[in-house]
Symmetry: C2
Subunit: 332 residues, 2 copies
């Protein structure tokens, strides 16, 4: 049988268990031009919180009674498709379900001979692409600049900061707790990491970036963004990647220090990784190269069982995870 998670109601604030419902159906079969995919791993990302709000955004919201949207990777188990055959590994928008059919739109085939499957929904998938284009194209980092990264131990921030190191920047992370901060400096090689749970973030930024910040890559929003705005240098750039502190907020924390952009001729720029789809291949090749050279370290935090979707999803917001959050939804 096929277990799938459907959206049952729109949450206000942090989603509770009633937000989704796990249902069971027959395993679908392939129509003409289709494949059946058995989903192994799904990607859990902060952006998913936005997809279940009923508001106009960069993609349509998930509808009530629809399968919850998620990036995923799985194996073709049946094919009436010209290009894909049984055994092929495909990644795409498979959703939180164990089996599904697709004509292949938005999917592509990957080679898992030397690279574990999970990397394709992590550093070589959306989170990695987000980091790559956000830090290089939006942040426009230059050698010698001071770069601040929030969510530094997360799937995107950890990669963005390492790319900034590769490019010769002075890189400061922000993460929650001594364990994550240790990971950010010792394993990922950032120059320093601010523990926002135990430090005053304004003072800590001043301390680590005495001349101010050239580029801020923001995954967090809220007071973190305000503190970074206050420390921006002339012609500073903020790559607005996410605002995880605000996704469940019923009352948004608005950035009081936004006029720092004016007096510093600085830029706050939002971006969506989907805008860069035409360049994913180039980025994935470069990232793969850095991984092989040992310059880019990535980690997946893998949980088990489609039944545990809700509690695993909440780890995105509690911060109780490290690196890329992944759920293995294969039946054990």
């Amino acid at each position: 049988m096929n277990k799938k998670l459907i959206l049952k109601k729109r949450p206000v604030g942090l989603p509770d268990e009633d937000t989704w419902q796990l249902i069971t159906e027959d395993i679908p079969s392939a129509g003409e031009g289709e494949v059946v995919i058995k989903n192994h791993y799904i990607s859990l990302d902060p952006a998913m919180r936005g997809w279940i709000n009923d508001v106009k955004s960069y993609i349509p919201p998930v509808q009530i009674d629809e399968v919850m949207r998620a990036g995923s990777i799985g194996v073709v188990i049946d094919s009436k498709h010209d290009e894909y055959k049984e055994g092929d590994i495909l990644t795409g928008w498979g959703g939180v379900q164990q089996y599904y059919t697709t004509k292949g739109e938005g999917h592509y085939k990957v080679d898992t001979t030397h690279v574990p499957m999970t990397k394709y929904i992590a550093a070589l998938g959306m989170p990695g692409m987000t980091a790559y284009f956000g830090i290089l194209d939006v942040g426009r980092i230059k050698e010698g600049e001071t770069v601040l990264i929030s969510g530094a131990a997360g799937a995107v921030g950890s990669v963005a900061g390492q790319i900034a190191k590769i490019k010769g920047c002075h890189v400061i992370g922000i993460a929650g707790g001594p364990d994550k901060c240790g990971y950010v400096t010792n394993t990922l090689g950032f120059d320093a990491c601010i523990d926002y749970k135990n430090e005053n973030i304004y003072k800590a930024i001043k301390n680590h970036c005495p001349k101010g910040i050239d580029v801020f890559f923001d995954n967090v929003g809220g007071e973190t963004l305000d503190a970074a705005l206050a420390a921006l240098r002339k012609h500073g750039r903020i790559a607005l990647c996410g605002a995880i502190s605000q996704y469940n907020a019923t009352d948004v924390y608005a950035p009081k220090n936004y006029l720092s952009l004016l007096v510093n001729s600085a830029t706050l720029q939002g971006f969506i990784v989907l805008d860069y789809a035409h360049k994913y291949k180039e980025a994935a090749m470069q990232m793969g190269m850095w991984m092989m050279e040992g310059k880019l370290k990535t980690e997946e935090d893998i949980y088990e069982g489609i039944e545990n979707f809700h509690e695993t999803f909440l780890r995105l917001f509690s911060g109780d995870k490290r690196g890329k959050l992944v759920l293995n939804i294969l039946e054990q």
Copy 2:
């Protein structure tokens, strides 16, 4: 004798009369390499409010007991300078004083044969330059785009909107009251103007820009900025020129809708006209051409008497003026 206005204390909120003091001194004489300038007109600009706060900004704050900083234009009445001679008209940072000496730094000579003096501290001076580089270089307007301008009847907004019209954009202004709105549409030729004093700004923007805004040129901040953020189109740009609604605020209105930048891959970019000093000449030539061709209409609202600086300055914030606010400080 020489009347000069000095800063006496730093205001909290809207400056009161005790902020400045008018003092009288002897008229200075020219030292070696200097000229004495008799100041005719000074420019009154919202940015002046920021210059009297004791905070780090793009230029140092005016110090207590220093002459109040202001752009100005006047006549050389004595010269020991190689380049400038008696009778030359110079514009520069003369400050709120009737006479001063300078070696000429930050000053340049202008020709008033065909152009009234006041234009050189208005459309052909800082406000005009601000509009020109803000709308073209920061806003990066393209033909056919929808452009929204706040402070549309003001010195900068009126010029920015007309440039957008010249470049083939659909241009909507925002101004206070039916008189100003009539001026913006009838005289300046904007396609429409929203009266923020009598209309709901969110609804009015939706009404006039049904497909959303490509470029917002913001002089106002506060709720106006929030309403524009809510209506931004994909890849929208906001040229953050000023925030006159916030300059006297003791509690800043922060933009709640800033995450619109994220979902729309949009940009909020501050700028300072001083960054473009190397291109002023090119811009002034282009603006002068448009003025001669009748494509660019500009207006100065001129008040009289250095004694009336304080009450005239307050017109910037009450909105009780139209076009560029200028004070004639020549003794009558």
